[in-house]
Amino acid sequence: MAISDVKEYTHLTEDEVEQIGRELDALRKEIEESRGDADAAYINRMIRIQRGLATAGRVTLLFSNKKPAWVLGATFLGLAKILENMEIGHNVMHGQWDWMNDPEIHSSNWEWDTAQPAEQWKHSHNYVHHQFTNVLGYDNDIGYGILRLAREQKWHPANLGQPVYNALLATLFQWGVALHDLDIERIRKREKDPKEMLRQLKQIGRKIRRQIGKDYIVYPALSGPNWKTTMTANATANLARNLWAYMIIFCGHFPDGALHFTEEELEDETRPEWYLRQILGAANFTGGPLLHIMSGNLGFQIEHHLYPDLPSNRYAEISVRVQALCEKYDLPYTTGPLHRQYGQALRTITKLSLPNHMTKSNQPEQPQRAGAEEEAPRNRRRKSDAERPPRRTELGGWSRGSFAYDG
């Protein structure tokens, strides 16, 4: 059952919740004040490595008719795209590096190497997902409007196809993301402002033209007689990035233990309660430093949700402190190896393709309100911005149309 009150769910007193808020605020301040040269060097090193890999990949693929060059070039390019999307683009757009006052590494003008325009990403992700994390009807990332991922979401016969939709989403992930902020569900119900829709579509069209042009026209053309093999290598690099990004992102909120919330939780939600919702709603995964870099440090999903705009290279040290805090207050802290976390997400996708009465929940035992178990799944209509509470500031900015994409 989704949580309608985090305080009640966690059995914490008002004072304890306030105290957790103060401790997490203090931790934020501590990290903010210690940002310095080493952090700046980190992101600059990542950018150098990423651009080096991209260049190496593109040059190698000019000779893509040779099998080893094809494999090596596609690998370099795939790694470059993953690194750009995960550790650089996503985090820069959250404003994690804005404190450097460097206009070349800034959330206001970063554009990333994928089909979705940065402006739309900052709206659908920084605002809609990060502020309303796992709140049914508010967070469009619960299943992305394609999958049923919470038992509270109403079952529909179309959900039977979930395993197939899931495989398609994984393969075509960048295109799914590109259309995400359009909000197909609201378009279908004719609730979307047609002018805004047209504006967004044009923006996506411009971006896609350049992305496709680069990978499937310009570089193949430069490869001359090897144009065909360069094209397949580029497609492979894009596919690898799609599958990887999909898997990492599905490990953030869909493993068992990452809980959902009802809109009642949002009513008068205080900052400490917002913190608690982030801890309860997110799931980490464990791994070495390289895995964390390649996944944009989203293995520290809980820490990222508590502090979306603190530099990603600090999440590891933050997680030690957050775990200690969770232990102190007996709060759940969901984590596990990547394969287990993804396995759980996959299991939920499969199970929830069927109606609730045919399967059993894998979510941890929760204290129940009297009669809650019998409550029928509500049909939650997706909200428009006008119906959402105003945004919080620590999520990273988004602004409409003030920075036109010109790259």
């Binding site: 940002r35 593109r58 404190w99 554009e111 971006k207 680069k214």
Partner: protein
């Protein structure tokens, strides 16, 4: 249309963009050589030459996009990364504009509480990459120069005047110039040897030095002795704010403010706006401010990561979009009220309620 003899850089760049989108070619080239980018003006510190105990000249080689066409007396913005964060200040260029320029020089005095100036004088290694802003300022040598000139400078206020003197010297046409230069001690006098040489070389240059720790400050009523014909001279003054205020008053009394040029390196806030509620649109925060609080301060107060540079209206790093409402430039009372106007936040205050896009 570009003529066939010149390289069509714009077209090359557009083609390059196709290869590097969503980045630009410069984003890659600047990794090979940090100066190969015109996206942000950059420069490499080639030399740090000590002038006095607390002042140094930085010789900077600018990268792509720099035209060496500053006018003698203008200043440039310089952004240096300190503790990972770019901090901006503005300094006068002390080198004359050069047709075959390769470097520019700025001379910096370490101020007792100036974190950045101390870092520039004492902590900057040759090879450091800095950011630059294009030259600006009206405190310049006119073309052609007037026949009789007076320079009144104190401390590091000598730097823009030095650019003018060097330009005149290089052209070999130094007009009738009187220079009065105040410095606490002879040792702290920047460019003292070079000025002495210029004085020996040019009969038309009169050079007065005043060591204020020993002889006290220049009293303007004594100006008639130092430079009896000061009323006939076009005058350039650069130094601390109290000195410039006194000079302004003195020239106004003589009804000569038209021939007086001043360079201030600190923000002197004049008029007050009435204040109001400042709304920061994207972050959803608001601040109630009085008419003396700048928009930049208002944003920082409520915890918004406002972009800023020099904080005195020079470098334009702080520019934001004024979505609606009216604001006033505190330096000169100029008002801005066009919707979606680009404005500097560090020198403006609210005139009633206004909204910014950040």
């Amino acid at each position: 249309m570009a003529s066939s003899s010149t390289i069509p850089w714009e077209r090359i760049r557009r083609v390059g963009n196709q290869l590097t989108t969503p980045l630009r070619p410069d984003d890659y080239l600047s990794l090979l050589n940090p100066l190969w980018s015109s996206r942000e003006l950059r420069g490499r510190v080639e030399k740090v030459e000590r002038e006095t105990e607390d002042a140094a000249t930085l010789v900077i080689r600018p990268g792509w996009g720099w035209h060496y066409d500053h006018r003698p007396g203008q200043y440039v913005g310089i952004g240096v990364q300190v503790d990972g964060r770019f901090q901006w200040r503005s300094y006068s260029v002390s080198t004359p504009p050069a047709r075959t320029g390769r470097t520019i020089s700025i001379t910096v005095r370490a101020m007792p509480e100036g974190l950045l100036s101390s870092h520039l004088v004492n902590g900057l290694e040759p090879g450091t990459i800095v950011r630059l802003a294009l030259p600006e300022g009206d405190f310049v040598l006119p073309e052609p120069p007037p026949e009789k000139m007076l320079f009144l400078v104190a401390g590091s206020g000598v730097t823009p005047v030095m650019a003018m003197l060097r330009t005149l010297d290089r052209r070999g046409t130094l007009p009738d110039v009187v220079m009065h230069y105040s410095s606490p001690t002879p040792e702290r006098m920047i460019f003292r040897d070079e000025l002495a040489k210029l004085h020996d070389k040019h009969d038309s240059l009169t050079f007065h030095q005043l060591h204020t720790d020993i002889d006290g400050m220049l009293e303007l009523q004594d100006l008639d002795e130092v430079c009896p014909d000061w009323r006939e001279r076009e005058t350039w003054a650069c130094g601390p704010a109290p000195m410039l205020d006194a000079i302004t008053e003195h020239w106004e009394q003589a009804d000569l403010e038209d021939v007086l040029h001043l360079e201030r390196f600190s923000l002197s806030v004049g008029g007050e706006a009435e204040g109001g509620t400042v709304t920061f649109q994207t972050s959803g925060k608001t601040a109630e401010v009085d008419g003396a609080t700048t928009i930049l301060e208002a944003g920082e107060e409520v915890g918004i990561g406002m972009p800023f540079g020099c904080r005195m209206g020079i470098c334009h790093t702080c520019t934001l979009t004024l979505v609606k409402g009216a604001i006033k430039d505190l330096r000169n009372g100029e008002e801005f009220s066009q919707p979606n106007e680009q404005v500097q936040t560090c020198v403006t205050a609210a005139m009633g309620d206004c909204t910014f896009d950040i």
